[in-house]
Amino acid sequence: MSTAANSLRSCKKETAVEMAEVCSIHLGDGLYGLPISHILEIVGDTKPETVPLAPAFVGGLVHYRGDVLTTVNARQLLGMPPLEGKVPDLLVVESANGCFGLIVDSVREVLTVSQEDFEPNPSTIHERSKAFFAGTYKLKDRLMVMLDPARIDPLELARAN
């Protein structure tokens, strides 16, 4: 659990200056967030190349600036049905093990949020999902669930499996 604690701390560190910048992400009906400091680039319109026999959470391979990135399918991770009728967006995320891609329904605006609105994971959410969440920001009209970049890294996911 030390990685979770670490990433939580790193997340807090960013919010320690009162405000933090978070990239908002849409997945199904939910609003999620990733700290902007972990995002290298937002790439629209990509079609990841599937990899036969890969673990289920792997969304395929994408070509990014001369490298081949492994992507994580966020919908699969959160137990949602596959996206239909839209080309998903791709986030290039930086983690301790290098870069990986995160496939999400769509990427929305970057929000500036206050640390005061942050709360750790409520104890009642599903254990499985809790592992990927770093906490929640209470926005004016809805909640934004923070994804923990260190825990959705493909290498970590493979270890957890």
């Binding site: 990899v51 026999l53 994408v62 070509h63 600036r65 081949v68 990135l69 492994t70 990986f100 493909p154």
Partner: protein, 750 residues
Amino acid sequence: MDELTREFLIESQEGLDRMERCLTELESRPDDTALLADIFRSVHTIKGTTGFLGFKRLEKLAHAGENLLGLLRDGKLVAKPHIITGLLELLDGLRSILSNIEADGGEVDVEDAELIARLEELQEPDEEPQPEELSAALTSTQVQNPLLMAMAQEQKQAVVQKKATAEAVARPRPVPQAAPASGSEPAKGAAAVTTATSAAESTLRVDVALLNRMMNLVGELVLTRNQVLQATAADSKMTLLTRRLDMVTADLRESVMKARMQPVSNIFSKMPRIVRDVSQLLGRKVRLEMNGQETELDKSLLEAIKDPLTHAVRNSLDHGIEPPEVRVAAGKNAEGTLKLRAGQQGSHVIVEVSDDGAGISAEKVRKKAIERGLITLEAAAQLPDRELLNLIFLPGFSTATAVTSVSGRGVGMDVVKTNVEKIGGEVEIESRLGKGTTLRLRIPLTLAIIPALIVRSLDKSFAVPQGALSELVHLSTEQAVEAIEWIENAPLYRLRGQLLPLVFLDRMLMADTRGQSREVGDIFVAVLDADGRRYGLVVDGLADPEEIVVKPLSHVLKDIGLYSGATVLGNGDLALILDPGAIAARAGVAMRAEEQIKMGDAVVEAEEAQGNEYLLVEVAGRRAAVRLADVLRIEQVSASRVEYIGVRPVLHFDGQLLAVEDAGGILAEARGEMQVIVVVCREAGRQIGVAVSHVLDVAAGSDLIEAGTAQAASGVTLLKDRVTGIVDLGSVSMLPLPEAASEACVENAQ
């Protein structure tokens, strides 16, 4: 460490490397003032800079050396062997101080009094050491002195060895050894030195990481270019611009790749010194010949083969070349020859170490392998000699009767093999008892770019490294039903009479293995040979072979165990690179029984697939050979498909006309639906078919020297111990046929 010191270190090391090369050359040309001046300059530069940086110990030693070199340069002293030995000691002394500085940022505070005194002693004219004294010292090589004591362990060992050689050279009758190069080399060497100094000013040191990054970005640019080309294909206004972009990109890519290349001479140049030291230590007389130093190789690969090559050279000197008296007794020249050769062959660089020594006795290898328990008695008895030799690559094998300091501890050849294989290379050994041994390293040109066959399966593209591919077989739906046979659930195909296990790529890559039918459609079988596992990979389609840029995969995907990387194809698609060995292992394809023991035979086979190889065919009862490099494919067609232009048989494939050479009259005799075999060959930009009765085998041919001349006889080769004629494709006349030629053809056929 500050920037200035680091730069000084790099510069000094380069200077010392040059000094080392010059010193070994100096031995053969002691009067060459240009060489002496060059050595002097190296030491002088070190002395000058070191005083500025405040490395007192280094300065003192360099100063002592400079004095001696000054006398030599001015012709007041002659560079006799014992002086050169002294200078080599100086070189080692300077090197060890430099490495101290590199490690700790400063000098270790000890005096080099002994070495300095020695260098001063050497300045006395005609100071010849007493023979008795020195031969006494030779017996106890563990000479101790304060300098050695202070040094780090490995350096200490190295210097002790140098010490020993120093004594060896001053024995009563010192023999000049290790002439660095063959005939034309000295003049060339001198010229190279002068150009090298001026070249140094126009070069720049670049971080390798930066070059890697550039390589990556250029790859990216190539892809973007491809997309631009596709997107603007219809726009005539863009044509000129895109064409220009295309050219510039290609040039840029080539330049960046070139920037990573370094000449093999970077490691070859270390060899004269090693040969000199080791041969003196062992009492061998050896002449070193080097060829192809200008051959270039990717820097990382060059680094990787440095140790294996050094090892191979030491091995040759220790186990290969015999002591002078043994050589004379065997009727050979007392002086042995060690040849280092490098050259490019297709997408590989071949580096060869060959000696004219005793060769490896297959019988000895057999005995030793049994003794060491590396192979059973029965298995050993069945192995042919050539395969026995490969046993020396097994860990823990050594044929040397005595353990020497040079080699013979049973580590070595296996390390050579593993190191070379680690970078995707191959090792092959050839040896003839009493004649000598050749060790051949086959290194891919770059790690990053490999030729690959692109196959289609599951509506996806996959890359198969061409190195593992031996042939391709196309089976139409009807043919496939007939040709694929089953034993329980294992599909098999008869390839020239031998059963070849098949692996269906699509089935292997589907997680759900239930309900898979045996139905097959139009398929291609890629016959692969991976680490001695031979099998046919069944795919749905083929695309053109490409040179692919290998991109590493993340651990998660590497752990699947079937892919060795990924690549971006010319059309911008991503493709996974298949690992033929892993697929074989997953599918349960075993190494052939004999191959489990004969280790490394796969290397030889793969080797055979590319080098001086011939396709052995039978034409109307006679054997003939076609150069394998010329063979494109082998077609089996029914005789009714053969048509004639005049008397000349032709075949047509998809709108292409193929002239068929029928010297054996096979087509003339074939009737109706009889199947005939046509070997389709490439010859000077066109394709020619050669009608044959049977395809017998693929084998390595060796040149035959025409009696009384030193030239290889043309048109024939020694194949499987029989003299075999090579089909001369060049003589097949062009289409359309001029009158005269067609008449000639009739004569040919008769």
